[in-house]
């Protein structure tokens, strides 16, 4: 009998162990006390530089709300989303997230994000935003995210490195051929240790702006692709030509320095990317940003409105958060406060909230971004539709195929077929 009792005890303790999970998330409550001790999880993507900024901003936040503890974690962009996807499956997302436009539709439609409407005005001030910037985070009539900042596609050049290698500066807004010629001249001067740039055909955004120059987007409102196999083959074909001249950094070198880009590793003098990447590049290069310059990307068709402003990133609160009010206070601080503005500068894009922007001491780099976005006004067109569900995977597939083309492990024709087959599978959902 004694053994029987022990066995029962063993079963009971196993059951207790298994029952360790559970608990319903609390809804918005009217008797929220900001001075009650609460712990929040905050997740963002970025590098050490940005992590330092978040740390400082959270310290400032804690001066106001000392009882709200914020645990922050960060990862590079692709891993950040892998982790979020797993958490989403278990409805266990961090309370506050830095969010990307490409995933907004998917997460919102699946009710993973908190409806922010009851918190707007009360916990999250909205007077710093314009009507249109507030509308960015609205999916199917529900506000699930607020934009942190906006950014535009741009060309970064490393003037310090250019001076050292003795090559001339890039003037901006040339033709693609002229850009390739310029890259070639830098690579020649660099003598195998510095290159003019990275093959631009490896990034879907460069394909996008060349489509937009002809009045099309990657996808239409209904989520159908607006480009043909022939157009993509032509685009990738141009990449092969540029790589063939030795103007761009070999893909092999890029793989060795990843996750840094060739530009961030100080191996190339130019890179096409979003205009808020400057501080990150400076951090990667271990130099200050004074040696970086911004200019307009090459022009596909004169007079075309190929560029656009998009939310660089947004803030969202998880629907599973147990502390939505405290999370809302943190979001408000990170989005609107002058203190946070002073800390972040333009690291997360040009601030969308005017009160946040007021705090930004326009350091030379931020000033460059502001000047850049002013300078491309004539090239800015309407933003494309909110990205299709799975856009993140499509973008990554494009990047991987670009890499394989660079290594010569696939032909342009094979790459185009693979891309379309992949895209069809993703869009079939």
């Amino acid at each position: 009998m004694k053994r029987f009792k022990i066995a029962i005890a063993a079963v009971a303790s196993a059951a207790l162990l298994l029952a360790g999970c559970g608990g319903e998330p609390a809804g918005p409550s009217s008797d929220f006390d900001p001075n009650a001790p609460v712990t929040l999880d905050l997740a963002f993507w970025g590098n050490d530089t940005r992590a330092g900024f978040y740390k400082n901003a959270i310290a400032k936040f804690n001066e106001k709300y000392p009882k709200i503890t914020v645990n922050s974690t960060f990862l590079p962009f692709p891993e950040f989303w892998e982790k979020r996807q797993i958490e989403a499956a278990g409805r266990d997302l961090p309370d506050v997230m830095q969010f990307d436009y490409a995933y907004l539709r998917q997460y919102s439609q699946n009710k993973l994000l908190l409806d922010l409407k009851p918190y707007l005005g009360k916990y999250i001030k909205t007077d710093g935003f314009t009507e249109s910037t507030l509308g960015i985070g609205v999916v199917n009539g529900v506000t699930t995210a607020l934009p942190i900042g906006t950014n535009a596609w741009a060309m970064f050049t490393n003037t310090a490195l250019l001076t050292k290698s003795g090559a001339g500066a890039y003037t901006g807004a040339t033709s693609w051929d002229e850009y390739a010629t310029w890259m070639g001249s830098v690579s020649k001067a660099g003598g195998g240790s510095v290159w003019g740039g990275t093959d631009p055909t490896g990034r879907i955004q460069n394909f996008e702006i060349s489509l937009r120059a002809n009045g099309k987007n990657l996808f239409d409102d209904a989520g159908a692709a607006q480009f043909t196999k022939a157009e993509l083959a032509e685009f990738w074909g141009k990449g092969a030509q540029v790589r063939g001249t030795g103007a761009t950094i070999p893909t092999k070198r890029l793989l060795e320095v990843a996750p840094k880009s060739g530009f961030g590793a100080g191996l190339t003098t130019s890179e096409l990317t979003w205009d808020n990447f400057g501080a990150g590049y400076a951090g990667d290069l271990g130099a200050d940003a004074s040696g970086l310059a911004l200019s307009a990307p090459p022009v596909t068709k004169a007079g075309a409105k190929d560029l656009y402003l998009k939310p660089s990133m947004l803030h969202a609160i998880a629907a599973n958060s147990e502390h939505p009010e405290a999370s809302a206070l943190l979001v408000d601080f990170l989005l609107n406060s002058q203190e946070a503005g002073a800390v972040f500068g333009t690291n997360r894009g040009l601030p969308a909230s005017s009160t946040h922007l007021a705090g930004v001491k326009l350091d030379p780099l931020s000033q460059k971004i502001l000047d850049y976005e002013t300078s491309i006004k004539d090239r800015l067109g309407a933003a494309p539709p909110v990205p299709v569900v799975g856009y993140g995977s499509i973008e990554e597939k494009f990047r991987q195929l670009g890499e394989e083309l660079g290594l010569g492990t696939v032909t342009v024709e094979q790459a185009v077929d693979q891309f379309f087959s992949e895209m069809d599978t993703i869009l079939k959902k």
Partner: protein
Amino acid sequence: MVTVPTPTGTPTARGSGRTAERRTAAASPAGEPRRPGRASGGAAAARRETIAGYGFLAPWLVGFFGLTVGPMAVSLYLAFTRYDIFTPPEWVGFGNFVRMFTDDPVFLRSAQVTLEYVLIGTPVKLAAALAIALLLNSITRGSGFFRSAFYTPSLIGASVSVAIVWRAMFAGDGAVDSSLQILGIDLGGWVGDVDLAIPMMIILVVWQFGAPMVIFLAGLKQVPTELYEAAQVDGAGPVHRFWKVTVPMLSPVIFFNLLLETIHAFQVFGSAFIISNGSGAPGGRLNFITLYMYKRGFADMQMGYAAAIAWVVLVVVAIIAAIMFRTARSWVYYAGDNR
């Protein structure tokens, strides 16, 4: 089996009968008077014992069914569906499998690099393990030290830190590249090289030969020395002795190691993930099947497709294991078999 005749001339069935009696006696408390209806009381005791037995098994059974059998059954179901985690699974029949073999060149290439890695890496690793085990078996001083020293890499080899070190060592102008340049061999970095990425991974796995080495060493200690002496008397040289005595006597251990290491090699993930930054680069050469499955599942949210890949891998590994067992009959020698 040998039957021992008992004094009465009947084969001994009584012996076991006695043991059974003793066992029952032990189960009932000593000195307790035997009551009528003892038989049903014994049955109740046996039942209690059964329940107690299952009770003790329960924590393991819950884990086995809840964490192994259950998820496996679900993944088998998911393999026939399209499932993105966010929306309910949608039945697609054999669609995932058809796609895998007809419409997914990345899968086929991933399978190819995995097989390349397994088929080259495993034999090389075992050869290295056996060679070092033979060396250690022949020395008398310091063998304990060397055994530990050679075993250590297999403990830390699969760790993230070693993968990071590997990546740095094999990058352009890294330790390996620089050393080879001193010897006049200029291969450049291995990490981003389509042809050298798999050799780099094979070196990493071969370096972890410690675990099979220890097993080989134990096997070598079991080979009777008189066999070597007899062979020597017959004029067999060291090479002959190795092929005619060591290998046959060691064949069960070789078979065991081969099976284990082959299955283990199919599971390569962490180091490939870290070295390629999670992408399987360069050109998909490190996109091993486990990595590809992970990316399909957790980056692309194609859980159904990932589950289908998992089942294909399971079946392939099972077939390879079955072939090994089949062929083992012809080359594995068990010393006790030929009595």
